[in-house]
Symmetry: D2
Subunit: 337 residues, 4 copies
């Protein structure tokens, strides 16, 4: 950590800072430049941050020299994590495609979509049983009944199941059904929920929030990991910006940035990223070209009667075509699907 | 709701939309302009939205003509809500000032700050017992012990207590101690939590999230209200924008906008809004001038040793001075403090 | 255009609007729904917009049904524009790569970089002679001397030349040297400059501004085109968002969106998009996978002594390697380089 | 300037950096911490920035310790600048109100509005003769004829005149008529234009752009000042964020922040800030409460037939009422109007 004093800081102010650091057991190297006096500090960054040093008179600001996340960083684990899920490996050469409807609506719907996406090459089935909806008057999901249907899809197709949990009280229930538990974008800083899934053993798929910086995103992963569950998957799904042409702005540069900062697998969700089925396949291709370890894509057999997200869902045949395109790009960057 | 067809839409596409609307029991008036064919629809907006009509071929977009929130709207209750809390009224002529530390750290700290802010004219004491922190390694709050301390502050000073809840499982506990329950910015779309506090009777103080639009913010209030608890207070506390000079961008125009859209009381939190104690009082004055019904201000007796948010906390004497300035502006806009 | 009246609008207010429309020669179809009264208007959108109807009492809002741009739209020219530049075609199957230093610094620098990028497969040389710099104390470009050097690079390598103009008074000068004139991101709404380059015949390369919506971007193209110069090329180079991990947020979804809205060629500039050379090649690959017609990439022979943008510049050998990767992805999406 | 090496940097990398610094004549103090090696550098920040040191291997990042602006800073002039304009003083105790229509439309219109705003207490008349419009098909201003009308308004009412210039070629013309020259939000980084008005002597009113950070805003002022014209006025007029409820997000915290960083007068334009006349007066009050030195407010005698910005323009009688409210708040914060 580096502490920069304000221009014109007075000696008693400097002394007060040094005293405070002494009482925290922090060593400080003083450098007196022509323009500024600077302290280079040694000690646990967390302690220093907690020390609220910026509130001391004469201090301009603190500059962190360490990343605030540890377990999620490449310093902790330099090699990329390969997460084993049954026969699947996440974070390996083969790109994992997760596909399915936004909401679990019925057994028939899920069976039809599940059969189609399995045939097209997906290996994980997505579907929401608990749905975070902006309006309390919208469809909120089938709950446990939805989880049962998902289990039947797994039975029938061999696809692994990913589904969202929204409430700490449901974590145990969802964990009984899901192969991967999803934390939705709106819960990316629901720290109680992150702690709860972190205490379990089911891999956790954390979606970046609409306003989450890269550092905050990794800190959310850190919450899960610091509770003991190190099987975390990160998902870029679009951030919120001034441009409202599309539902979100898919931040694909987050893919190579995350790949350099963390060992965890990185997935792209182009469906939420663009919110319009016409742009899903181009952005899925782009996500793979940018270096993603996997894709999450919404597929629906009848988008116009879907309970949610119909506009951004691909018809099964379009998804199958898109898988062909994705496969070609994967090959071009030395991956498979 | 208005449905706009794409330029060059084909008759069979129009027929398919009309069929779908018919099956939903929705009446549609067709207007054929030179440029566009437009449908004006009658029926429950929620049903129509659920109908995912934008996924139908030939449809360019739907334009909502109704607000998605009902109970929170001025249509539901044209008069401003005056929320009674003991001797206090929120949303009335007198501006309510909530003040106190970010975190409850100790009995001594809370007693000292509580005495000071009560003397300066605050009527509600704030303090966090459950703290949402970006890092799992930061101080997470004293939990129930913190709640006990808050109850003692109330006993001692007569101040009402506001404190945050983060987990659905803690709602009952927090409700036993708090006069007002706070939903933090990061939980503004934690729908499970909104539902849970909505089932109780303690007034709910909802902080706008960093990325929450005005409509989404009102929908979060709607979540609480639709569960039966209509005592909701809204708080603008800064949004996240491209400018990182300050911690957040305090969106004060949200105050008159909210005042026109909803009957609920609107509070401004300048402390989180700017994140630097030097700008808190000017923005508190501005919040009152913009029409806020109250203020939430962080005060700490020793900012440099605070467990959190020291930099944005006012010393008790600065808070007292600031109250003098706030009082003058309140009078200038026909309010009292 | 659709005009939506406020809930509870009074008849005299409706009459006043209809009178005003009558005086503008606009036909209005009235639809009286249970909830809202709506007018569907026929007439030139521009006239209607100018009419400031939203300022009339009782009007809630206007909803445009036509795009505000004409010449830039697919309605005006349904086929994709192929822009011929000597032997080059922009907007055709072959992806055009523009490469070179941020600033023209010297003849030796430009010759070395020009030779290298030509060998690696670039077909256009970029280099700034007039530099828009945030600080008045930074290097502002070599001006005409820089233009002369660019002309020598063209002579020597056969590469076409693209360079920026910042001042209406320099347009004629720059047009004498450049094969393509660049309008920088900060001048995307410098309408005087857009008009001036629109009066010339040199193709114009318009960079999207940091805060430019897709519609505004196309309106900037429209400014150029409406002056007679229809040779416009659009460039996505990153927008400004809350996340400051990288210099900008490269909005790659803008590529397929623009491809669907306009017939003009769409280029991606990953160098400014990410601002860090380590992520340039992955995002160049992603840009091609998303459907871009070309790339603009900064290359420097000595990034650490560059006058500007050193951190985001590729060394010539890294650029050559990157071209290999880009070529593979281009092939995967049915293009060549 | 502080240079932070990457974790695990190698000695040859450090040596290369020190060599480069030596060749630039920069002194470097090395601090070797347990976690990081840090250099504290002495020398002109501009030279160091130009040196592109971040492109050197092993360097993580540079941290600036000086502000990049000089003339605009409080270090250069600790006292607040009082700008004399005839009988007016900008930046003094009396708040200056600038009012008038968006566009100069006709002599009759300007006379009527000019008379009304003068009577209500405004001291500067605003009106655009050159209009930056998103669409090339919108009204572009009356040009020189508009300037003539403005001069007549000054003659008639005694109000000073502020009007915008968009093209370097028009600066001399506009300077002959205007008492204050406005640089619009879209030209805030049109450096050629900033240089040109900086070479003149007419005070320059710089509007913050929709995406301009506080530092960039002050750098734009620095462009003007570094050319010799130190009479610069800053105007906050709303930034662009994710929330589209209003036209812009008025960043009122920029007022006290700017007041602390610069000696230049700071004005608030609530009309563009909110884009809806209903919220203009509350935000004008808030601007004054936040510490603004003046206000710019759009007033029109017939908003519904205005050529531009009708929706955000106040009727003259509403403006007069608003002035009464503004006056009260000014008094509450120790100012006059």
């Amino acid at each position: 950590m580096i502490l920069i004093f304000r221009h014109g800081v007075q000696q008693p102010e400097i002394d007060a800072v040094l005293d405070r650091l002494g009482s925290l057991g922090v060593k400080a190297h003083v450098t007196r430049g022509a323009e500024r006096i600077v302290l280079t500090l040694e000690g646990e960054e967390d302690i220093l941050r907690a020390a609220q040093l910026e509130a001391l008179a004469g201090v301009e600001r603190l500059v962190a020299t360490q990343k605030p996340y540890k377990l999620a960083s490449r310093d902790y684990r330099p090699e990329k994590t390969e997460l084993r899920l049954g026969r699947l490996k996440l974070g390996a050469k083969r790109i994992v495609v997760m596909a399915g409807p936004c909401s679990v609506e019925s057994r028939a719907q899920c069976f039809e979509i599940g059969d189609a996406v399995a045939k097209a090459g997906a290996t994980v089935f997505r579907g929401g049983a608990f749905k975070p909806r902006t309006s309390p008057y919208s469809f909120q999901g089938l709950g446990q009944e939805g989880l049962e249907i998902l289990a039947e899809v797994r039975e029938r197709t061999g696809l692994l199941i990913i589904t969202e949990v929204m409430d700490t009280r449901d974590v145990e229930l969802v964990a009984r059904y899901a192969d991967i538990i999803q934390i939705g974008a709106r819960n990316v800083q629901n720290f109680s929920l992150l702690n709860e899934v972190g205490r379990g053993q089911v891999p956790v798929f954390v979606k970046r929030g609409m306003m989450t910086t890269i550092t905050e995103f990794l800190m959310s992963a850190e919450y899960v990991m610091s509770n003991g569950n190190e099987s975390v998957i990160l998902c870029e799904r679009g951030i919120r910006t001034f441009d409202t042409t599309l539902r979100n702005t898919l931040d694909l540069a987050a893919v190579p940035v995350l790949q350099s900062l963390t060992h965890l697998p990185v997935i792209v969700d182009p469906s939420h990223g663009v919110g319009d089925w016409r742009y899903v396949v181009p952005m899925a291709r782009a996500g793979v070209a940018a270096g993603a370890d996997g894709l999450m894509i919404e597929v629906h057999n009848s988008p116009a009667t879907a309970f949610s997200d119909g506009v951004q869902s691909l018809l099964p045949e379009r998804f199958a075509d898109g898988m062909g395109e994705i496969r070609k790009v994967a090959r071009a960057v030395g991956r498979t699907v």
